[in-house]
Structures are given as structure tokens and as C-alpha cells.
Subunit: 336 residues, 2 copies
């Protein structure tokens, strides 16, 4: 039978009920050891009886901080889930909650606009998750009192950034091919506007050029299996194609299916590597070798970076989280 009038219960109400001063109630909450046990019990009892819950706004106003980190999602996709998971867990561990806003489909949001909206909300710092280019990326200036971390493969002139090492992952995959005797590597890209696809392509190019190999024309995909299948049909007709790097696993699977439908074997005729290592969830006994990024770790790093920078918002750092090549049997060693 909790007493519950329409008005919210304040510390003052608790203080009166417990026969102590307002400040003592505050102390019971924030520094319980400085209050005599008998008093503390009385206050706790009163809080219980009245259903007291501390007022966040008043507390934050006085303290000058919120204990919340803002997260701006410019795009919410499958890969982001693990990253958000990492952010949320790291936040919980450090006693922070998350305040989230999202770019709506169709809406065109700049970094400045996102920062403006976020800075109206209860946040001590913020994380932008940016998978595509925005107009004001290079000119953006973060609020000087709000630590800002951008999750993006591009370097930013003023803000800290955190990213998967997409380029490095692509290079790693190419070198894996080349070290096994392949003379060239074809590339199937994801959606044009996706930064991850762009970076993977860049890494692929760089790896080939580093060995003096002229990169062939990349094939344009859209992340889905059907586009990979279409690319596979084209590649099946190229006699010099022994190695294919696809910008994600779904397209890699499409490529493999097309090659098989054309009578070619993976890996005996053509070797394939994908990205994200998620095919095993859908395909039993999947053989696809794949570059896997640690998205969760990415989120954790981003959050830690924000928290570390709370006191010095204008500090700047760049963090790269390396990928891992998950080896299966879709790559043939031609040196054998």
C-alpha cells in the first residue's frame, strides 16, 4: 500500500517523513557512510514508504553532467548491431547510459545538424556512426565542450575517429591470394556510397599495385547475393580469373553459386574470399574464407575514447581495429 499522490516525491518529503534534514537524505544517497546507521535506516524506510526516486534533472543540473553518452546513427544496418552492443556494454561498465538519435530514411543530416540536436539532449559526449559520406565532413567543428568521436574509416581533421581497418583487411585478403601463387585478384564491390565498400576496394587496389599488378576493373555489386551471382557469371568467362575478393559474404556466396552453375569449382578453378564472416550462419558447412571485423570491439573502443576525452574534448586520436582472416577452404594454393 505505497503512498502515492499525484505529485512526485522529493527529497524534502522524505526528509520530513524521516524527521531529518533535506541534506541528510542527500547524504544517505551519495555518501551513506557519513550518516549514522540508525538515521540511515530511518531515511531508507521513508524512501521506501513514499516511493522516492531521485530526480535526474535536478541532480544533473547541480552536478553539471548527465552520465549519458550520445549516439548518432546515420544508418542502422546489420553490422551496426554488434557495434551498438559493444558501445552499450562498455557504457554500462563505466556507469553511463546512452542517448540515441537516428537519421531518418530520406532525411539528409549533416554532422553539424546532428551535433546541434545532440547538444540539446542530456549528453556528456557523443559518438557519430558514419557509414556514408556527408557533405560537411571536412568542415565540421565539434562543440568545444562536448567530446566527439566519429566511427568512420576516414580521418577527420579535428575529431577523434575509430574504425575497422577495412583497408588493411582487404590488403590482408589480397596478399593471402598472392602469397599462394595467384597472379591477380578480381573485386566485387558493395553499394557505391558505402564507405566500407570504398575502403575495401582501396585496400584491394593498394595490395595489387604494391606488387606491380594492374588491378582489373572492379565489378559493381549492391551487397546482396543476386548481384554477386551476376558478377560471378561475368567472372566465369574470364580465363585469367583465379581469385575473387567480394566486399561481403552474401555476394561472395552469389559468386560461388554462379561459378558452380557455370561448371567451375571453388576452390579448384577459382578461389574466393568474402568479408564479415557470416555465411556460416546461413549455409551449412560453409567453406568460405572471410575477413571478419570485430564490430563489438569497435564499439567498445569508441565509447572508451569518448569517456577518456570527457575532460579534454578537443583532444584528437585515431584508432584502427584490425580484422581477422577466418580461414576455410575456399582458397586454393597454386604453388602446390
Amino acid at each position: 500500500m505505497a503512498t502515492m499522490d499525484k505529485k512526485n516525491v522529493s527529497m524534502n518529503d522524505v526528509a520530513i517523513a524521516a524527521g531529518v534534514s533535506l541534506k541528510t537524505v542527500s547524504r544517505v544517497i551519495n555518501e551513506p557512510d557519513s550518516v549514522r546507521e540508525s538515521t540511515r535506516d530511518r531515511v531508507h524506510a521513508a524512501m521506501e514508504a513514499l516511493g522516492f526516486r531521485a530526480n535526474f534533472a535536478a541532480r544533473s543540473l547541480k552536478l553539471g553532467r548527465y552520465g549519458c553518452i550520445g549516439v548518432v546513427l546515420f544508418h542502422l544496418s546489420g553490422g551496426n548491431v554488434d557495434m551498438i552492443d559493444g558501445i552499450a556494454d562498455a557504457a554500462a561498465e563505466r556507469g553511463f547510459a546512452l542517448t540515441m538519435i537516428k537519421k531518418r530514411a530520406g532525411e539528409k543530416m549533416t554532422l553539424a545538424e546532428a551535433a546541434r540536436r545532440m547538444s540539446q539532449l542530456p549528453v556528456d559526449g557523443m559518438i557519430f556512426n558514419l557509414r556514408q559520406m556527408v557533405d560537411d565532413f571536412d568542415t565540421f567543428e565539434a562543440p568545444k565542450d562536448l567530446k566527439t568521436v566519429i566511427i568512420t574509416p576516414m580521418e577527420h581533421p579535428a575529431c577523434s575517429t575509430v574504425s575497422d581497418d577495412q583497408e588493411g583487411g582487404a590488403r590482408m585478403a589480397c596478399e593471402y591470394f598472392l602469397n599462394r601463387g595467384h597472379k591477380n585478384v578480381y573485386f566485387v564491390s558493395g553499394k557505391k556510397e558505402a564507405l566500407s565498400s570504398q575502403c575495401r576496394m582501396k585496400g584491394w587496389r593498394a595490395a595489387l599495385e604494391a606488387r606491380g599488378i594492374e588491378p582489373p576493373e572492379p565489378l559493381q555489386g549492391d551487397w546482396n547475393a543476386d548481384s554477386g551471382y551476376a558478377a560471378g557469371l561475368v567472372l566465369a568467362d574470364k580465363p585469367d580469373c583465379t581469385a575473387v575478393l567480394a566486399a561481403n559474404d552474401c555476394m561472395a556466396n552469389g559468386v560461388m553459386m554462379a561459378l558452380r552453375d557455370k561448371g567451375l569449382s571453388v576452390p579448384d578453378d577459382v578461389s574466393v574470399i568474402g568479408f564479415d564472416d557470416e555465411l556460416y550462419k546461413t549455409i551449412p558447412n560453409s567453406i568460405l574464407t572471410s575477413v571478419k571485423f570485430r564490430h563489438r570491439e569497435l564499439g567498445v573502443r569508441a565509447l572508451n575514447e569518448v569517456v577518456a576525452g570527457l575532460e579534454a574534448p578537443s583532444s584528437r586520436s585515431r584508432t584502427l581495429v584490425s580484422g581477422v582472416l577466418v580461414e576455410r577452404s575456399s582458397v586454393k594454393d597454386l604453388r602446390a
Copy 2:
């Protein structure tokens, strides 16, 4: 060259700079039409020059509300992404931000614990996303002044709930089989503790029993393709098995691969239906018929339900969002 001392700029600072009263600055922000244009311009200029940003805590304290809805994620998985997307978009549309906390892996969080933590944060209402059972589900009492909506297939005695119609979707799939002359339907379940798997199984049972059919022993899977493959190997040996309902698309794909490896054809020998309609992303020319739920819509409904209930937190409702059967060619019509 924005002036920027270490201390934050308050309305009072702006007021002094603009040569007006504190209250006028407040009016410029909240009811600009009540301020003469010349005054308004002067204030805006001062705000710009000083880099003023309204203080969230003070505003919320005075207003008695936050403009934020809390979201508690008990489990963050692929299916949730679209739901969060829906919540976030609907929130943005109605001028709300989201405050998020997440159960950490391994941690055992009850509804009461989640509610306690949330009610310390800046929220006007909250949404719990519950994919597995929790100990205090039936006994949980939501804070009386905080509208609480639970996304879960189970009915709750006191709180509003929103859910996909998992059971209805499973029934729909079964009837689709039965109406096409199949005499029985086998079922491959997902992880035991997942409510969605439980509900899908329940709907499958109900549909068969409604036609006087004894449901065969369900096969236990774990959502991944390999477990579906294992189930498929077992089912391939059952002569009476003409129809298989798998609790998700990945396992359905595993089942199909196993059947083919055993020399059986889908759909000529065995028909298959999955859930979630996501196979087409990974498999080119996918033939799998699948029950698709509108997760985005689910999120939208949940958020709208919270907002609608802000004034009457103790109101209670139950919303079911129906699924859709996406027809492809994995089901044979035996009546032909």
C-alpha cells in the same frame, strides 16, 4: 572567433549581452512570435556570438518532463535492428529522443531491476524488449508514473504489450501446407529459451491440432544452418515427411541442403517454409517461402503506445502485428 570561456553560457549571459531580460531570451526560444522582431534578432545575435546552448537539465527540471523514451534491450540480435529502427524513427517523428540501456551478457536482469535503473535516467516512459523469459515477469509492477510497454509475445497482467503475431504466423504457414494437401507438418525449433521459437512452435501445434492432426516430435535446432542441416538429415529418412516448417530461414536452408544431399528435391519431394524472409540476401534466386514479420512496424507501434500512454501510465493494451507469408516456390501443391 566565437567567444568561449570555460564556463557554460547561460540565458542570463545572453540576456545581458543582448540588453534584455532573462525571460525575453526564454521567450525567443519558446514563443518567438511573442517577441518583437528587432529584439528577437538582437537576442539571436547574442546567442550566436556567445555560443549559447539551452541547458537540458534546467529545462527538464522546470518542465517536469524529458522528451526521452527509455529503451531496455534484454537481448540485442539481428531481428532487433529493424525494431530499434522503427522505435527511433517514430520517436524522432514525435520529437522524442531515446535513452538506452542494455542487459550485459551473463548479467541476470529482472524487469524490476531494469525499471529501477531506467527510472534514474531522463525518461518519460519506457519500452522493454524482451525476447526471453525473466523470473519476475508475472509479478512485475511498473512504476506508477512511468508508462511502460513490453515488447514480448506473452500477455502481461498490468503492462501494455506489443508483439509480432508469431503464433498466428506459424499457424498461417501450417494452414498453407495443409490447404495444399499436406497431411502433416514437421517442425524445426530455434533455441529453447527464445520466446519467438516457443511461440512459433505453439502456433504450429495449434494449427495441426485444429485439424485433428497429431503433431510429430519437433526437432531441436539453435537458429544456425548447421542445426537445420542435422534436422534435415533426420527428416529425409521419414517417408511421411512432405512438409517442414523451420523456425527461421537459416535453419530452413540447412534443411533444404540436407534434403538435397540425401537425393530429395525441394519442393517435389518435400516442401519447406521458413521465418523472417532473409534468405534472399544470401542465396541467389532463393526459392524459400517464408513468414516475414514487420519488425519496423513493431517498433513504431511500441513507441506510439508509450507516447499515447504518457498521460495515463496505468492504462493497458495489447497489440499484435501480423506477419506476412512471402510466397516463393518451396511448397508443392499436392492436390494438383
